[in-house]
Symmetry: C2
Subunit: 634 residues, 2 copies
């Protein structure tokens, strides 16, 4: 029987990490596939995606302007890397599979369009014409379509799945907004009321629709109501009803629909993952199987099994491997059947925490000292509950000291005392607990403490060295010192058990928040690119406070508007950083009246679409996700 | 065997309506109990509660000022009614049960405190001193503690149940706010930044905590960030992190905790209700049971059963009663055991819709005409799908006409055409469908249509009669006409099936929204009473636009503040109506900087407590409730 251990190991490892690539099984393709999965190549790919995305910092409108030939050269390099990665992928999987996979087609289209756009832009630049780099909106789609973007694709699929249901609720919601607007037009339009800026109030239907849509986001509450309310308190009832129905009931219905779809979809995805995993393990079994006795079921011998496990996880300890084998081969037959083999992928994912405590290195080095009475007393003290309480009290006192004025020399010096106390705590713990256990992968708080305290120590030393040498204090280093000092206080929550469960749930949902982060970045990036083309330099921020144009953000249309009066000039689309920050603000509160003033009314469509995409869809999925995570934990 | 049919009927009816009163079983108490449950007395009770609550409209600070002796006389009358009702209740239930029930004690305490307060207030008034009617905050508690407030008490219990868990999350949330505030103080306090009003920015710790707490409600976004963001975009990261953690994650966790508790509590309540219902039916059975054969199980004969059902529901038809009996006595033995008897309460709650269609009255009156070919063609036409589509199109055309200027005589006259078309639709439907079926209790949309169209017709006729007689148009009648016209358009959603399911769910959650309405009124009323004492006349609204004090809401402290500039003067606590409207605004967006300016800093505590109570607790329970309702439906 020919057994291809490499191939089996790849199947097992694919099952373990939920990879879903149907690679060619020819030896050459398998070797290429192993290379394709190498972490260095993956890191490189993400590095170049990051470079490609951050080109927006240097392209017009730029944070740091660079000549366009520089950014275009870098972009060409990125395109080259993506093309090479794609060719590599094409060599790994069968040709027909490659062309049937929409994500490959997507990447090819993105690369071609980018190239076309670069050529057009270069030609226009050479002819001194105005050009738009429209292909920039395609860049974040690379994040979605690379093979490694599985989680992100799943998130987008879950959104696409929820869309039909959201759409019907959205239609009904818009119908309600339109009806209320019509009623507002009829009730309020003819009363000759004026807004605070003196403009006629609620006389144009489209304006009313937009104002009432924004009211759903609560951004213009209570401003939009005030003229009517000042005329008569009866009109307040209209607005209260509106908010009850559209803000509270409809927004809850959106959440319900999104949440329901999310749960259904999640279940279906998990089922598919389990099926795919089983399928791969069955293939691995087919490669490894032997016929032990005539007519009996095929099995995998312990020797083959060991070899595969060794290939999949080279760093596995012998003890661990034998434990896994004894779990699989529970009847001690020296070989396992298909059913027992299939569970290997899950077994490998279970982290075995070594219960057997290792002796402390000091105990091995000089047992006489470590086991002496004072040393043992110290160990008991450190492990005592009172030790935790004392240090919690120290943290609280420290919090008060941080709040006080640090210019006071007494306070400034007290910082050294606290740092010494914290260092002492870490050293004492290292004395008592085995260092490798103390810094094990799951001891989040030990890592947290040590990193924070050591960096605070380093930063404080650097700071006082600079101060004593030149009398000069770096604002940046001081800021870091302050942040570290405050972060240190967080650890007090770990002492209270109720808090710990909540915090642990939050930490556990951390990785999934990263997927949401990518999702948000994809959407924000696209909106930022479009927004920059539509709104760049419409609103300007002046560092120079003496410039008279500062009072109206450099745009005469904004003279006397609330936007300029509230000094919102820096909320603009003049570069990618301020665009991102503005989009975050729009997510929180859809405050966009300023941009509607300086551009055409239709610019409001941009803001409404953004609100629908981000707040109604993505934020609700995020909330659904946090809800589900907490329901599972509690 | 003595069978007390009255007693059994009361047990069954208590089980049917989920009443939970352990009344005395003496004949006199039973008679009193029947009287106690009479709907007239209940309506009277709620009427007097309403009168008591609306006294706030007439007491200082009043919407319509009345002399205090008038309001106090009315209040005394209300107190008398409540006392009589309580005495009635005391006669109905055993004495020890009465004194063990906290809701009775609550009512007695409320009544006594109110009396004491009235005496003190009267004495102070007589002595020309300043008095506060502090007992007014107790009034809404009557709504909770009357026997009929079961649903409301359940809602409060569910809140009380969720409180411990909310409390721990809240502590963690506040810890996070405090940590971020400390960091903000250290990072931003020393940079010499100023707010838009020129005040120092982020220099006082308590101010920062309050500003960042308000940021969680998104009310002061992005204002609170702008000075730091204008200094450097790096600080925006601080605020974005803050909003991510505290607004998005923590608020979702609050929702998760509230929702989880709500579901758990709901299940427990339903279980208890089922248990109590069974218990009462068992008692009814015990009263009615006979021993049919020696040593056999006790049973209830059909005769006794009939008598009880007749007492419980006098208007039940013989056919319906016989149907119910045949369901219970499925083996046709002429008597039923305990198990079959217990289900009676649920059977009575099932509404039996008569499937057998009654013939149309016209068909009975002159069958020759009604069955003639043209008449039958008409019936087929009205029942055809095209009829619905034609009327949907008419509604859409109507919507466009409503949007156009109604001063145009063509448009004004078209209204008569539309009214005629709608009347025609209703008459045609009444011609085709049996009128009693058309106006059955479940035909929500038929009722809706008829009421809206008929009232629109009446209002339009009245309006044009007034116009042609005196050339005078009443604004109020015109408003009603407009509202009715727009409401008519709503019915278009009923034609689309997807919309119908959503709308039906919304209609079904209607009654429960009434309970939430009561809950909100209780909380708002208490906050309104306290708020009026704290803030009355601090901010004034001037109808007279020429008054110079209007520019700063009559309070020099507000000169130049955003509050006065945005013309928020009517957002005040000067009477109970504007207090309620302001509290709604605070629920939507916690915009309270104006009141913090005119009063002491500590007034902010009022707004924070309101936010915690209403937004974090009650609104989340409301959202949880809508979510649950939609999960059950979908
Ligand atoms: Na808001």
């Amino acid at each position: 029987v020919f057994q291809d251990f490499d191939l089996a190991a790849i199947y097992v490892s694919d099952a373990q990490y939920n990879r879903n690539i149907y690679f060619d099984t020819s030896p050459q393709a398998v070797r290429l596939y192993l290379l394709y999965n190498h972490w260095v190549l993956k890191v490189l790919l993400y590095f170049f995606i990051l470079v490609d995305l951050s080109l927006a910092l240097f392209e017009e409108p730029a944070v740091v302007p660079l000549p366009s030939w520089v950014t275009m050269l870098v972009e060409l390099l990125c395109l080259l890397v993506f093309t090479l990665r794609l060719i590599h992928y094409a060599k790994v999987i069968p040709r027909d599979k490659f062309w049937k996979d929409p994500k490959n087609i997507c990447i090819i289209v993105i690369l071609l369009l980018t190239l076309v756009d670069m050529i057009i832009y270069g030609a226009l630049k050479a002819a001194n014409c105005y050009g738009v780099r429209w292909s920039r909106v395609l860049r974040p789609l690379l994040l979605v379509n690379v093979t490694e973007g599985r989680q992100l694709r799943r998130a987008f699929r879950s959104i696409r799945n929820a869309l039909p249901q959201i759409f019907y609720v959205f239609l009904l919601f818009m119908f309600s907004v339109l009806m209320f607007s019509l009623m507002a037009l009829k009730l309020l339009g003819k009363r000759g009321l004026t807004t605070i800026e003196g403009a006629p109030y609620f006389t144009s239907y489209l304006e009313i629709v937009f104002d009432l849509y924004v009211l759903v986001t609560t951004a213009n509450s209570p401003d939009v109501m005030m003229p009517a309310y000042n005329a008569s308190f009866v009109f307040a009832i209209f607005f209260i009803l509106y908010i009850l129905i559209n803000t509270y009931i409809f927004m809850s219905v959106f959440l319900a629909v999104v949440y329901n779809n999310y749960k259904k979809y999640l279940k279906e995805e998990v089922r598919q993952l389990v099926r795919a995993k089983r399928h791969k393990m069955v293939r691995a079994f087919a490669v490894l199987q032997e016929q032990k006795e005539e007519g009996g079921d095929p099995v995998v011998s312990q020797a083959s099994w060991n070899q595969v496990v060794h290939l999949v996880q080279p760093d596995i300890s012998n003890a661990h491997r034998e434990l896994l084998w004894s779990v699989c081969d529970d009847k001690n037959q020296g070989a396992i059947g298909k059913v027992a083999f299939v569970q290997l992928a899950d077994l490998l994912n279970i982290e075995v925490i070594t219960i057997k405590s290792r002796p402390h290195p000091l105990n091995s080095l000089c047992p006489a000292f470590y086991q002496s009475a004072p040393s043992r007393l110290l160990c008991r003290m450190v492990q005592h509950r009172a030790f935790v309480i004392v240090y919690d009290l120290i943290i609280l006192v420290n919090a008060v000291f941080i709040g006080l004025d640090e210019e006071n020399p007494m306070i400034a010096n007290s910082e050294w005392v606290f740092l010494a106390l914290y260092m002492l705590e870490i050293l004492l713990k290292l004395y008592v607990f085995e260092p490798r256990a103390f810094f094990s992968r799951h001891s989040f708080w030990n890592w947290f403490d040590t990193i924070i305290v050591v960096s605070a120590l380093v930063a404080t030393i650097v700071n006082s060295a600079m101060k004593s040498s030149g009398g000069y204090t770096s604002r940046q280093i001081l800021d870091i010192v302050f942040i570290l000092r405050v972060l240190r206080l967080i650890r007090v929550v770990d002492s209270i058990k109720r808090f710990r469960t909540i915090i642990n749930t939050l930490i556990r949902i951390g990785p999934a928040i990263l997927t949401f982060g990518q999702l948000i970045i994809v959407v924000y990036y696209i909106f930022a690119m479009v927004g920059m083309e539509l709104f760049k330099n419409k609103v300007k921020f002046y560092e120079d406070t003496s410039d008279p144009a500062k009072a109206y953000c450099g745009n005469p249309l904004l003279k006397g508007t609330a936007f300029a009066q509230l000094n919102y000039c820096k909320n603009n689309f003049n570069n990618v950083v301020s665009s991102f920050i503005l989009l975050v603000e729009l997510t929180v509160v859809n405050q966009c009246s300023g941009f509607a003033t300086v551009t055409h009314m239709s610019a409001r469509i941009f803001f409404v679409i953004f609100h629908i995409m981000v707040v109604i869809v993505i934020i609700n999925i995020f909330v659904a996700f946090v809800l589900e995570a907490f329901f599972v934990e509690y």
